[in-house]
């Protein structure tokens, strides 16, 4: 009879029952990570949170653990690509069906997660990407950024749009939601260093459904941007090269479900 008792817990409405996780990559973000975790829970308490501490030298991991988040600590800094992929692997291995990425620096506002989750829960897209440059009706451009950075982003947006043959306005955005199909792909293969632009091409080549959703991003709450002046030049050259070569690359098989 004991088994029957455990069965009596009310099943939730279908979309609510989806096992969901928020992946929070963080590198020396002890000041902003706690707020990010709390905001994710405020949006939806059913979100599990995994903080990927990318070799921080401050108390990022401790601060996240204090709030009861899962913390995966990398033994040294892998860069954003390696850190985020660690999160995808975690999500894949623990059977999550839905994952969102919210950066630990606070620039992604968890209150807007609903916009990203919509297309995924409705099964209209495999991956939804929050764009700063797709204007919401009645609102003008709100994201402040240096002119060179905006120029860099437009060049990348133009190139990626050409390659994937559809309009992508914000290819560098890391504010994303995805279903298990996309999690399995990214767990198997994810670009290094600064991954988002190349990931967009990967998603296209694997014929996953991608959609852009207008979002607003905040100024960084604390810490330093990961991209300086010299790094920006490297970033542009590296990404353009990766995009060009990526066109001719063989696709990696997504991770298989082991059952």
């Amino acid at each position: 009879m004991a088994e029957v008792v455990t069965e009596t817990r009310l099943p939730r409405a279908a979309p609510l029952a989806v096992k969901r996780i928020a992946i929070v990559p963080a590198f020396n973000e002890e000041e902003s990570v706690p707020a990010v975790i709390e905001e994710i829970r405020a949006f939806d308490p059913d979100f599990e949170v995994v903080v990927v501490d990318d070799g921080s030298t401050d108390s990022t991991a401790g601060a996240a653990r204090e709030l009861g988040a899962h913390v995966v600590r990398l033994p040294f800094n892998l860069g954003i690509g390696g850190a985020v992929q660690t999160g995808f692997r975690y999500a894949f291995e623990h059977g999550f069906e839905l994952a969102v990425r919210v950066d630990g620096d606070g620039q992604h506002d968890p209150a807007q997660l609903g916009l990203l989750l919509g297309p995924i829960l409705a099964d209209e897209a495999d991956i939804a990407i929050g764009s700063r440059f797709r204007e919401t009706p009645g609102e003008s451009e709100s994201y402040r950024s240096s002119r060179t950075r905006r120029l860099g982003i437009s060049i990348l947006a133009w190139t990626v749009s050409l390659l994937v043959r559809r309009r992508i306005t914000d290819p560098t955005s890391g504010f994303q939601a995805m279903n298990r199909k996309a999690i399995a792909l990214f767990a198997a293969d994810y670009p290094h260093d600064y991954p988002e632009v190349e990931a967009a091409l990967m998603v296209h080549k694997h014929e996953l459904r991608m959609t852009e959703v207008p979002v607003q991003m905040r100024e960084r709450a604390a810490g330093q941007s990961s991209i300086g002046a010299l790094a920006s030049v490297y970033y542009m050259v590296k990404v353009m090269l990766a995009l060009f070569v990526g066109l001719f690359r063989k696709n990696v098989t997504p991770l298989e479900e082991t059952k």
Binding site: P75, H192, D193, Y234, K238, L241, A242, V245, R249
Partner: protein, 116 residues
């Protein structure tokens, strides 16, 4: 002036270098990060091979009067040195990371043993 044959051979060699590097990236045997210097080497050598009057001018600047193609060798050698130096720093970083990994693994193993 640089003999035409030398220019042609040098240009072909540079193009082959660029293509080999691109193929290595495509087949995932070389990461973009470590390919950039090689590609720069190929592009600079290709430019110097094709731009024959430029090669002469540069040869004049550095005091090579008899045989301008020597500049190609010099530039090629310089870039190989740069690549090697870059790789030395990469190996040093990998060495450090490897140490950290071995230490983490040993500490975890010790923890597991004492618990089990």
């Amino acid at each position: 002036m640089t003999p035409l044959v030398v220019s042609i051979v040098a240009a072909i060699a540079s193009v082959v270098l660029i293509l080999v590097v691109l193929e290595l990236i495509r087949s995932r045997r070389l990461r973009e990060r470590y390919a950039l210097l090689w590609l720069l080497t190929g592009v600079v050598l290709l430019a110097l091979s094709l731009w024959r009057s430029g090669l002469n001018t540069i040869a004049g600047w550095v005091g090579i009067e008899t045989y301008p193609p020597a500049v190609l060798f010099a530039v090629g050698a310089l870039f190989v040195l740069l690549v090697l130096l870059h790789y030395s720093t990469v190996i040093s970083k990998l060495h450090d990371q490897n140490t950290v990994l071995a230490q983490r693994l040993a500490l975890l193993e010790q923890q597991l043993r004492e618990r089990g």
